[in-house]
Subunit: 314 residues, 4 copies
């Protein structure tokens, strides 16, 4: 095992470098409520796998909504509850070069969404959970999240309302999926759960704690709970590394090289397996919807700590 | 660092399990010469990064052609010679869900091939190398390969002739790319180099030695040479993990979880960074063109050796 | 001008031949209420342009719903009310080889629907009418129809309810169009008008009378009204000949050779300009959604009467 | 029958109006030799079906290459020689909204080209002819053309050479079609015939004479020959009206309303069945590859002479 050499001053140095690129990004505006976020916010939190130690820097008290990062929770819980076969009957696990809200492949190539991290795939997962869990679905998933972070995440009602009122593209996806028989529950219920999960609030430390569970093979260094089987860990990390940053996943794998999942609020959750769980947050986005400074901070951290784990040259 | 606990008996056990699934695959027939390969061949070779030790099992004397695995060599050499900017001006680094010989995205979405491991992208890379290196291109790249393996790989003339005579789809790709100005050299020269590199012969040990260089950050445990910069290592591994197994890359990332590159002759090169370089070979393919038993052997090895590097649960 | 040589016995002969192929078709089932139609129904009505004479045969008392044939009414009325420029800013006039409910081109090629006879295009037209005419839109369009046929068409409430409850694909289209800013009124209002127009009842004589107006350059032989400008006539007929039978429009142009528009209830409206307006009805459909016997009857009629108008060989 | 009221002064008036829009077009440059054409050339020729009379205006002595208009000849001859079934086994007859040299639908939707007027479809037709007719194919087709025009058309060797040297996209199409087994002869032979037919020279009177045969149901008013069966006439005219002006066919059907076929040299052949055969020529093209002034001249002529044949309003 690596003995992780890291402290707050290293993170602070990364913060200082990374924040400078955020000027080139744009805070998401397609969900009006998200556009209110200050572009200057930045936080970076790590949970060291070896020790469970927390190292962090920046505006670590800031809450933001998970957005697409919550797709990790819904997919994990679906696998834990229903098993791989049932989940991957309705959604594939392959990356595409299409944008997160794309639907053309559903008509052109395969009725089954390419992966569970595209909106189409995540809506299918939510319909499966909604059908299986019924009215308690949302509550159960927040309790599931508590196994990772120690606290039940809260719904940001303003963001939820804002997303609900601007969800045309997601509604288009959901009705399409329903027309081909892929939704297990109604369009309304499936989207309600989907958007509620997107609207869950978290800090970068919460993200780092969720990532810690993946880094530690399914068990939390922090809560001592064991929410994920090893099979689920492998599945989530495999889909993160290939599909986690939308159609920027390839570039992320090159520049950072570890499994991660981004959200349009500016958060990114990343895992260096056996090394650390990471959460980073900075609202301004690149054109593909990924946090610009968050992406760069992870690149700096990965290089600095050799998170890919290659043999160090003499 | 992990102290790698592995010996030939572990590989033998994996061999026995993996070979059993090869019955469900089909040896490639679209290149007539490839269809002559015995479906019962199997070999698996590892170079341990810590020690440089070689562990292997099966028909390790068997030579087969690299096919798409050679795309690692051409891309690496292009980056080393010309730099990232020049290479990635003409090809992107994003995975798609399209098959390896797909061209529709070139018309539909972007004239630039999605990544250098799809045929379209690799042909562009070969045109760049051909233009830069001229008539000596093929010879230079085989010399480059010698830095990894200690021997210059040989051209299998029969396979080369066979591929040349059945290269309609690749010709279609090359002429398309030329019509949009993306080929740097002629269609004929670019395809000649492309198919020559596909027709290079290797053993699984050769593949493991190439992978060893990636695992060791650019330097060969075996030859002592240092053919790749760290930036090239990161780029190659990032593209391998997202695009290395064609449109089966997502499933491979889930089930195996390490960077790899397959070829239709049945070979797969894989890297567990800092841990080991791996070559595996078994001709029968799954419907996406990946070695069925090779894929499964890597899954067994990854699980057995915890190649993802997650923290071991107590 | 041709002096039209036609009488009921010619139509009866065509009926007898055409009805025999209806066994090879299938009554539409995706709208449950439509599936209740007897497959043996058949009617054929012509209004002779020269004289205004009516010739018809078969179950001419049978009412059926217009379905996509109503797209002629909505497009005509939109052009009359708003002019070509305003209408064709939001929808193009080009045929595609895609099915009537396709949406992939909206993402892949152009946000503007390819033509007003695909569902996407017709929904845009309905949103324009809804915005322009408000709550009275439906009533106004039925009054507009009265100018052609002499009677206000009635809504089939059962078919309307049935379509409303199975409109997932159309909802998907409408939400997509709304997400790109192409809908001028709400998704609900636009779809309500769209499906109401699809659910209007008619006989084949009604269709023939609408076609008569096109044949006579905009004026009705029957009501004496003049609902269409010559520009609208040209536009409607041009779009009918290229796009009127969904992705079977090419084959129809070859086999029949005159402008027409089909609906999934089994009706087809056709125009032989200056010669006759035609309505035909037979519920069983071919795989592309066009009435099998209706298509064949029009082919027989076109050949028998030389409706293409080529010079007769000596 | 209409008694055609037309004389040279009407054509002259149309010429004067139409030529004014040619400034907004661009002479084709992708075939270097074509770019040498003067943008000011214009000719318009009509053969009146009733009488066989010729009316024409402009630079009627100017020869230009047929380009895509020759697709009428190759398709006609293929149908005459081999029958509908054999021809339409390898190519469909449906319009698309794709550009003339598009190939994405071949991978995405159907391996069979959408229609014989797209390059892909025409190359398939040429491969069929080449296989059936062997080395004499080109000569036989020019003899076939003589049945329409009274003279064997000549090959423009400079244009042929120019097109051959810039045929990358057509080569891409041909190799793709060969990879899916759709070419009946070699890529080289098929393209050689295809480009030779594109390089045939003609005047607008030649085009009008070919159109005259279609207008007269298969027989030439001019040569007295009868080169086409009525079935071929129907097929050619049906494909012309839906696919004849590339992805501008819909707009042409609206604005002009009669079957036509354009070529990138600036020629358009059009048929008003039973009324007249028309040839028009003006090199500057619109963005879709159709002669701008030629298109407009046909619109003026169609409106002026009521070529759609609608009943004249009192």
């Amino acid at each position: 095992m690596f003995s992780e050499q890291i402290d707050q001053s290293i993170l602070k140095e990364i913060y200082d470098k990374a924040i400078s690129v955020s000027d080139f990004g744009k805070v998401a505006t397609y969900i009006p409520e998200l556009s209110l976020m200050s572009p200057n916010l930045f936080s970076l939190s790590c949970v060291i796998s070896e020790s469970g130690e927390i190292v962090e820097t920046g505006d670590t008290d800031t809450y933001f909504t998970m957005q697409s990062i919550s797709k990790i929770l819904s997919l994990s819980y679906a696998i834990e509850k229903l098993g791989m076969d049932k989940v991957f009957k309705s959604v594939d696990m392959e990356p595409t070069a299409d944008s997160f809200n794309s639907l053309m492949r559903l008509e052109m190539a395969s009725p089954i969404p390419a992966n569970p991290f595209m909106n189409a795939g995540a809506i299918v997962i939510c319909s499966i959970l909604q059908k299986e869990l019924g009215r308690g679905a949302f509550n159960e998933i927040t309790s599931f999240c508590e196994l990772f972070t120690g606290v039940k995440p809260k719904l940001n009602q303003k963001v939820f309302n804002s997303e609900m009122s601007t969800a045309d593209r997601n509604k288009s996806l959901a009705y399409f999926l329903n027309s081909t028989g892929l939704l297990m529950d109604s369009v309304e219920n499936s989207l309600d759960l989907y958007i509620k999960l997107c609207s869950l609030e978290c800090t970068t430390l919460d993200l780092a704690k969720i990532a810690d569970v993946l880094s530690c093979g399914g068990k939390s260094s922090f809560t001592g709970k064991h929410p994920l089987s090893f099979e689920t860990v492998k599945t989530i990390m495999g889909i993160m590394i290939t599909c986690g940053l939308y159609n920027g996943s390839g570039e992320f794998a090159v520049r950072v090289g570890i499994p991660a999942k981004s959200g349009v609020s500016g958060g990114i959750l990343a895992v260096a397996p056996g090394r650390m769980g990471i959460g980073v947050f900075s609202p301004p986005l690149d054109p593909k919807g990924n946090s610009l400074a968050g992406f760069y901070a992870l690149e700096l951290l990965s290089d600095r700590q050799n998170l890919r784990g290659v043999k160090i040259l003499d």
